[in-house]
């Protein structure tokens, strides 16, 4: 058995170990490779950055479950920090499915602690879960207060000072959907098409490629894709001197770089092995026939 044949039969536990190592080491000993923001992230950042306390609100939606926290949590927190720093009224919606609300709670609890002078109901509003998914998106276009009745803490929406003058999509400058599913399309189809509200999004790297068609057609104002997108947003916040928290996405980028290199190496080695072995087998087959 040749070298390549043996290599291809390598126990996959060694590969598992390799991935663990390339992820862990840069976390302990970071290199701090520079991060260059891309256009879709820059567009989203710029849009929010032009807003202020007098502008229409940002409607931030938390549409993901804990499995996607590493990619999406930094995004939702960065947007919250951005809004609270600029004083833009922000409505955080705990998402279209019940499993998402806990994430939203985690996000707002952590960020609110960094801004002790900002008050729930005055500077930000946290809305809970109601079933219906697309029906909820449509209902917000009619009336937020009668759709949700109360905020997450049970306070009637009518009594919240920030919500004075915010009735439906016409008082919202941008919906930012941070999503792990196809929900941005729903916000587009039901929020934008029916009520012409602007939509921006943060999504996992898995779904980012398919949203480029909507970016190009101008249906989304901007997009953060995956942990890299989140890192770019953190970078933009930091460049402006805004608070950017612990920058979890940025610190993960070195590990990301090395893990990618390892996987590329694995693909290349695996394919070399595949071709070498296949050729040897064909040769052996031919010789057998000759004999």
């Amino acid at each position: 058995m040749g070298f390549w044949q043996r290599l291809l039969q390598l126990d996959r536990k060694w590969i598992f170990l390799g991935i663990a190592i390339v992820v862990i080491i840069p976390l302990i000993k970071p290199l701090g490779l520079p991060i260059k923001p891309t256009k879709p992230v820059q567009d989203l950042f710029n849009y929010i950055d032009t807003l202020g306390p007098q502008s229409d609100a940002i409607f931030l939606v938390c549409d993901f479950d804990p499995s996607l926290m590493p990619e999406l949590m930094p995004m939702i927190q960065s947007i919250l920090r951005h809004c609270l720093t600029k004083g833009v009224p922000v409505i955080l919606h705990g998402g279209l499915y019940p499993a998402y609300i806990g994430i939203a709670k985690m996000a707002i609890d952590e960020v609110a602690a960094e801004f002790p002078e900002k008050k729930s109901g005055e500077d930000y509003v946290f809305l809970g879960f109601i079933p219906g998914v697309t029906a909820v998106i449509l209902a917000i276009g009619i009336d937020i207060a009668s759709t949700f009745k109360t905020d997450y803490y049970g306070v009637p929406i009518d009594s919240l000072p920030m919500m004075y003058g915010i009735k439906n999509y016409s008082d919202i400058s941008l919906v930012v959907d941070i999503s792990g599913s196809s929900s941005p399309e729903s916000w587009l189809m039901y929020g934008q098409e029916r009520y012409s509200v602007n939509v921006g999004l943060g999504c996992t790297a898995v779904s980012a490629p398919s949203y480029y068609a909507f970016l190009q057609s101008g249906q989304f104002v901007g997009m953060m894709g995956g942990m890299k997108g989140a890192a770019e947003y953190e970078e933009l916040l930091a460049r402006k001197g805004y608070p950017a928290g612990k920058r979890p996405a940025t610190t993960g980028m070195d590990s990301q770089s090395f893990a990618h290199l390892l996987i590329i190496l694995l693909v290349i080695l695996g394919n070399i092995g595949y071709f070498v072995v296949r050729r040897a087998e064909r040769k052996a087959g031919m010789e057998r026939r000759k004999r």
Binding site: M69, G102, A259, H260, L261
Partner: protein, 206 residues
């Protein structure tokens, strides 16, 4: 009649009404839409969670009753459910309930999905082959995107991020748009067939 025709009639009436509603801006039409969307649909959809509950109990209770292999895992699942439920209701979603979510549900789910990082690496080595022209093209693009989307790509070659952004917004975008138009047409055709009662598989066939 009650089992087939009437549900079908309901489907047709509500579907047709909601469809023409889209084209009518008059207040009567808007009010109809508001009632259906804001009240009816949201309430009906809430009941659909019964399905999740049912399949959970069916699965685990059957296992326990028949003492199938690993039945005590099922027992643990039911205990966990009751524990979560009672802690949520007793504390009215208090700190303890939040902690159960933050330190048990969240890490468990996040970790389960992170297993995929390992599996993808192993598949990269053992199964992803440039077996033909298509697969080769796919793998080459994948390698470029993987390098160009992380800071090290920028570090190795300054033009890398721009190249990837170009791939994403030109060839990728064009193909995705084509795929989407096809999927969109299929979805519209299916929706129409549902309203007209040609497509009934969602009701469990005939």
């Amino acid at each position: 009649m009650l089992r087939r025709t009437l549900p079908q009639a309901i489907a047709f009436i509500i579907g047709f009404a909601m469809l023409i509603q889209y084209f009518i801006p008059h207040p009567i039409s808007e009010r109809f839409y508001n009632v259906i969307v804001q009240q009816w649909l949201i309430i009906i959809l809430g009941f659909m969670y019964i399905f999740a509950l049912r399949s959970f109990f069916m699965h685990h209770i059957v296992k326990i009753r028949r003492k199938k292999e690993g039945y005590w895992f099922s027992a643990m699942a039911i205990v966990a459910l009751l524990f979560m439920l009672s802690s949520g209701l007793i504390t009215t979603r208090g700190v303890f309930f939040d902690s159960l979510y933050n330190y048990m549900i969240a890490p468990l789910q996040a970790t389960m999905f992170s297993l995929l990082a390992f599996f993808i690496a192993s598949a990269a080595f053992r199964a992803f082959r440039a077996r033909n022209f298509q697969a080769t093209l796919l793998l080459v693009t994948a390698v470029i995107v993987m390098i160009g989307r992380v800071p090290i790509g920028d570090y190795l070659w300054k033009g890398m991020p721009d190249l990837v952004e170009w791939i994403m917004s030109v060839p990728n975008m064009a193909a995705m748009r084509g795929i989407r138009i096809g999927v969109g047409l299929g979805a519209v055709a299916t929706a129409m067939k549902i309203i007209l009662g040609i497509e009934r598989s969602y009701m469990g066939g005939e």
